[in-house]
Amino acid sequence: MLTILGLTAVGSFVYPLVRFLAPAGGKAEAKQITLKKSEIPVGTAKEIPLNNTPAIIINRPDKGFVALSRVCSHLGCLVEYDKIRNRLICPCHGALFDLEGNVVSGPPPKPLPKFPIKVESESILIG
């Protein structure tokens, strides 16, 4: 009787331990997205979902392409691109981000997360 309990106890720790230490399933792999350069003319931006996060690719006139998350680091609203002021504005509380994702003004505590981006001759690889 005691041995059964003991073995069950050991087993109920071994099983979680194995699951705990086993490498994560395939979903840890992020998907890459490829876009054509011509889809985003200079000075414009395109909003796309990236790994389940709304993201925005901006073709900046001075520094080229950048991929940022649209989720404002304040409370989660989605920021919008303001072409005229060269900023990203959050409609909820007026937060301003520059085109590197850094906070210019407003309540957000942290900059916008950036996604890795690789620019080739005809296309852009994001993720």
Partner: protein, 282 residues
């Protein structure tokens, strides 16, 4: 025992001769929040709640302390500008002080931060009426200036809206909002519950807030057909959040059951070993 007195003397006498570190310690330790209630250092509040003010104006800081703005750390200078730390220049235009906005300029005043809502409001019937004739509701009409509360569907009510026009068209809009608002309230409650159960809900909260804010901003256009068209999209998004929350509740239940099972195992083993100890095998 006989060493205690000299020990005490050695430890206490030399440092006790230094007097000023006591104030230093009091400043560092006792003045901190954990030593007692924190006092805000806002010169605006100091003057505006004192006897210098007119009685009607004296109530404003107290009203603000009950507001949703206060709970989120928004104080006088965030809207009115000026310098909250410098009494002499507190209301100086050089420090950004803009004073009280005129009635028709209130949307722009609030829209300094609430950018999306300003845009939608100006496109609405209310906004257009305000801008063209100077008559009509501004933000304060529905939301009040200093004791504003968290937005809810009950701001739209017969008393308020019939001040200017019949309630029928308002009813139509309220109906269009109803289902979504209910769902949002449910999700809000569930998220609060999850938090008390110790779950970290930042991602779901951000997702939810974004959807909620988008929906409420949309409402300010007063375009019932737009609201109706977009309702499906919003309900879908909210349902996704709900599914995630449900999954989290289930996970919490599983955790409780699993650790209860482990607890019973140990209780069983304690009893088993106790029985074994009472019947020794020689």
């Amino acid at each position: 025992m006989r060493y205690i007195l000299p020990l005490l003397l050695i430890l206490i006498l030399p440092p006790a001769s230094q007097a000023d570190w006591k104030e230093q310690f009091e400043k560092e330790f006792l003045a901190r929040p954990w030593a007692g209630p924190q006092v805000p250092q806002d010169v605006c509040i100091e003057c505006h709640s004192s006897d210098m003010m007119k009685p009607e104006a004296r109530d404003i800081p107290r009203k603000w302390e009950t507001s949703w703005h206060y709970q989120n750390g928004i104080s006088c200078h965030n809207c009115h500008g000026g310098d909250p730390k410098d009494a002499e220049n507190a209301m100086s235009p050089q420090r950004g002080f803009v004073g009280t906005p005129k009635y028709a300029q209130v949307p722009e005043f609030c829209g300094k931060c609430h950018v999306g809502i300003l845009k939608n409001f100006l496109e609405s019937g209310h906004g257009k009426a305000l801008k063209s004739s100077g008559k009509g509701p501004n933000c304060v009409t529905c939301h009040s200036a200093h004791d504003n509360r968290k937005a809810s569907i009950n701001i739209i009510n017969e008393q308020l809206c019939t001040k200017c026009h019949p309630y029928e068209r308002v009813k139509v809009m309220k109906q269009a909002l109803f289902v979504t608002e209910n769902k949002m309230n449910e999700i809000d409650k569930s998220l609060k519950e999850l938090k008390t159960e110790g779950v970290f809900t930042e991602e779901e909260e951000k997702n939810f807030f974004s959807t909620q804010a988008q929906f409420r901003t949309l409402f300010h256009t007063e375009d019932v057909s737009l609201v109706r068209r977009q309702t499906d999209e919003f309900v879908n998004k909210l349902d996704q959040v709900k599914v995630k929350i449900q999954k989290t509740f289930e996970e919490l239940r599983f955790r409780r059951d699993f650790s209860a099972f482990l607890m019973m195992l140990f209780v069983g083993m304690a009893i088993g070993f106790w029985v074994l100890s009472k019947n020794p095998k020689e």
